[in-house]
Every structure is written in structure tokens, then in C-alpha cells.
């Protein structure tokens, strides 16, 4: 997982690579998320819970015309695992405007597995990839 500034085109070209980066967690299975579906929405961060065993990002999605705004809950791996990819408890703050990519819960509830987010004001992309630690790191 890295936090880097990517131009939009580069970001799009990365999506295929990122598709296999299924979040892994020890607390519960992630099979309840439908990884065959990736939804992309815009919204505003309402809360960032930096807690074990799963970090959660709550986002109020931009309402479609005439609809009431909805808050959705995104799950990630643990703070420890995310820290290794450069995340901190300050990676998101309430009010951040983001474009969010996630894999939705299969049961239709307002939750999903976080895939990646782009900060709309800076273009910064933030994602996670546990598999990055699947090799020794000696430096």
C-alpha cells in the first residue's frame, strides 16, 4: 500500500493491478464482500475509526438528485498492517472530499471493503495492499 500522487490516467491504469488486492483480515472473513463488483462513488468522510481489528471509514455519499444522503461504512485491515503501507490515524479526517472505490456487501447493506480513495482536492490516491509484505524487508 502506498500513498502517492498519481495523475488520473496513471490511476486508471493501476486499477487492473489493484483488483487482486483483496483486503485480508483476521477477525472475520471478507467473503461477504462481492469482489466481482467495484463501485465508484463520490462523498464526504464523516468518521475514520483507527481501531483493531478492522479500520473503518464512514463516508456520506453524494446524494443522487432527490434522494436522501446515505452514510456507508468501509472496512479495511488492521492499523498495524496499514501503518506499514504509510497510513496513519490521520490519513482521513471528517470533511475530506473523496472519490471512493469499494467492493459492496453482498447483502445490500450500506457497507463495503475499501479498495482505494482519491482525495478530490489534491488528486492523492490512497490504497492498501497486504501482499506487499510477502517478501523480506531488510532496509
Amino acid at each position: 500500500m502506498t500513498i502517492k500522487r498519481w495523475p488520473a490516467v496513471a490511476t486508471m491504469s493501476l486499477l487492473g493491478v489493484l483488483a487482486w488486492t483483496i483486503p485480508a483480515a483476521a477477525h472475520h472473513s471478507f467473503a461477504m464482500f462481492d469482489f466481482s463488483k467495484t463501485e465508484t462513488v463520490k462523498g464526504t468522510v464523516t468518521e475514520f475509526r483507527w481501531t483493531n481489528p478492522h479500520v473503518a471509514l464512514l463516508v456520506q455519499l453524494d446524494a443522487k438528485s432527490g434522494a436522501a444522503p446515505e452514510v456507508w461504512s468501509m472496512e479495511l485491515t488492521s492499523p498495524g498492517n496499514l501503518t506499514r503501507g504509510g497510513w496513519t490515524r490521520h490519513s482521513f479526517k471528517p470533511g475530506d472530499r473523496i472519490e471512493l472505490q469499494f467492493n459492496p456487501l453482498r447483502d445490500g447493506k450500506h457497507g463495503g471493503a475499501f479498495d482505494q480513495a482519491t482525495f478530490l482536492d489534491t488528486g492523492q490516491v490512497i490504497t492498501s495492499n497486504l501482499r506487499a509484505a510477502e517478501k523480506p524487508g531488510l532496509e
Partner: protein, 280 residues
């Protein structure tokens, strides 16, 4: 009969001594203080320093390459759980936040762990999911005659050259033998785990496990798990309290910082306040 306060005290002291004396008379087994040579001897052990992250890809591959020899009854249960996971309706085995336990911690963890060598003991400390800790006594002791069953069992180990051989018994029958967070069944008792842990490459640690579970397996299950050494400080183990995930940070009526329950699905997924039964 009445006793003065003074004599009540004397009587209490005598009763107390009587209760203590048999234990003392039987003799306590003493853990001797380590000497300089015991600390120096640690230097001859292999270097397992650093933080170790699991090879998750290989974990998943080994479900196919080292199939678990489930007995007929267990296989039927596993097939149902496997089907539930494949259709996206998994039963979470660990959503109650009890430890993954032995040997499942070593089998399915996606989190880092570290090894501490001290005279007479190897300690394994894990990250996340609550109380992850194994004490492996390497001081030559055997298992107790009648150990209390625990989540991680009672472990004794010895070094065969650069391989730590660990024998673990007394694991709670309710703990799972699992191949994922959603597929596994209780070991149902008499579980025995033998491990041979050694450096497979200079910075790859290999744990060869032999899992003997006579009530759910037809024969010992032999498999292996691999861990990668990490030296970057960002890999330092951090605290991970599983139950913390059931709460968010909030304020009570007096303005105190308090934990507030968050809504979750039965499977342990977080839900936004509008969806949940336990609206914060």
C-alpha cells in the same frame, strides 16, 4: 465462647499457617535465576530478530496442496462452511474476538508476530485479535501432569541444531482447527501439535506443523507456514485489541471520553449508524 480481638488474630494466623504449610512442605519447583552463562548462551541461537509477516498467498495455496485429513463427520461440516463462504455468506469463526488459538493462529494469521529469546524460554507475541501470546518453555521441563486446557495450550520446546521443536498439548476442545476465518470446526479435545520452526532461507522462517486431532482428523495433518523477516521500524508490532473494534470513540453526558458501541452485522461487519440495531 468469645475471643478477644488479640486472640482472634492469633487463631487466624495459626489457621493460615496450617493452610500454607502443606503446600510448602510438598516443595515448590523453583525457576532458578538466570546466570551470566545462560544469557550468553542465547547468542549461539539462530537470529530470529525482527518482525515476521506471513506468506498469505502460500497459506491459501496450502489448503489445496496439504489438504486437511478431516474425518467423515468433520468433512461434512467443513463442506457446508466452505459452500457458505464461497457463496458469500460466511460464518465468522472469530467474530466473538476469542483467540484464534493453537494451531489456528499459526495457520491463518494475516498479522505480524515476533520471537523473544530469554533463558529457558521462547515467547511468541502476535499482533491484533486480542491476546496473542505463546510461552514455549525450553528449560528442559515436561508438560504438567494435568494442565488446565487453554487457548494456546502448554508448550515445551528444545533446540535441535537451529530448529526449535515445540510440543503443545492442553488446548481447549472448543478452539477451532481452521483453514480460514470462516472454515473450521472445534478440535473436540486431545489436540496435540508438534512444530519444527527454523530458518528456511536467511530471512524466511518456516514452521512445519504436525497437527494430531483424533476426534476430527483421520491422521495427523502435516503442513507448513512461512514468515518473512521485516527490519523496517514501521513493522514494529503495535497493540491490537480485538474488542476495540466493537466501539468508536465518543463522549458521555459529562464530556468524558468513552467507548460507544458501533452497529455491526451478525458476521461482524461494521454498519453505518442508520443501518444498525445498536445505534450509537
Amino acid at each position: 465462647m468469645t475471643l478477644s480481638v488479640k486472640w482472634r488474630g492469633v487463631l487466624a494466623a495459626i489457621v493460615g499457617l496450617a493452610a500454607w504449610a502443606p503446600v510448602h512442605a510438598a516443595g515448590s519447583v523453583i525457576n532458578p535465576p538466570p546466570q551470566a552463562k545462560d544469557w550468553a548462551a542465547l547468542a549461539s541461537l539462530p537470529d530470529w530478530s525482527g518482525v515476521w509477516t506471513p506468506n498469505i498467498t502460500d497459506q491459501m495455496r496450502r489448503v489445496e496442496s496439504d489438504p486437511v485429513p478431516w474425518n467423515k463427520e468433520a468433512a461434512a461440516q467443513i463442506a457446508k462452511l466452505d459452500a457458505a463462504e464461497k457463496r458469500g455468506d460466511p460464518k465468522g469463526l472469530f467474530v466473538n474476538c476469542l483467540p484464534e488459538s493453537m494451531p489456528t493462529w499459526m495457520l491463518i494469521t494475516h498479522n505480524a508476530l515476533e520471537f523473544l529469546f530469554t533463558p529457558g524460554r521462547v515467547t511468541i507475541l502476535g499482533e491484533s485479535d486480542g491476546n496473542r501470546l505463546r510461552r514455549i518453555y525450553t528449560d528442559g521441563r515436561g508438560h504438567p501432569d494435568d494442565p488446565d486446557p487453554t487457548f494456546h495450550g502448554h508448550s515445551v520446546g528444545h533446540w535441535e541444531n537451529d530448529t526449535l521443536v515445540v510440543d503443545t498439548i492442553a488446548i481447549l476442545p472448543e478452539t477451532y482447527i481452521a483453514v480460514s476465518e470462516a472454515v473450521g470446526i472445534p478440535n473436540n479435545g486431545d489436540l496435540h501439535v508438534i512444530e519444527r520452526i527454523h530458518l528456511d532461507k536467511p530471512d524466511v522462517l518456516r514452521d512445519d506443523l504436525e497437527i494430531i486431532a483424533p476426534h476430527v482428523l483421520t491422521k495427523p495433518w502435516k503442513t507448513a507456514r512461512f514468515l518473512f523477516r521485516q527490519r523496517a521500524r514501521k513493522y514494529d508490532i503495535v497493540e491490537g485489541v480485538c474488542l476495540q473494534g466493537n466501539y468508536s470513540e465518543g463522549k458521555d453526558a459529562s464530556g468524558n471520553a468513552v467507548f460507544v458501541p458501533v452497529p455491526q452485522t451478525e458476521g461482524g461487519n461494521y454498519l453505518p449508524p442508520a443501518d444498525g440495531p445498536g445505534k450509537p
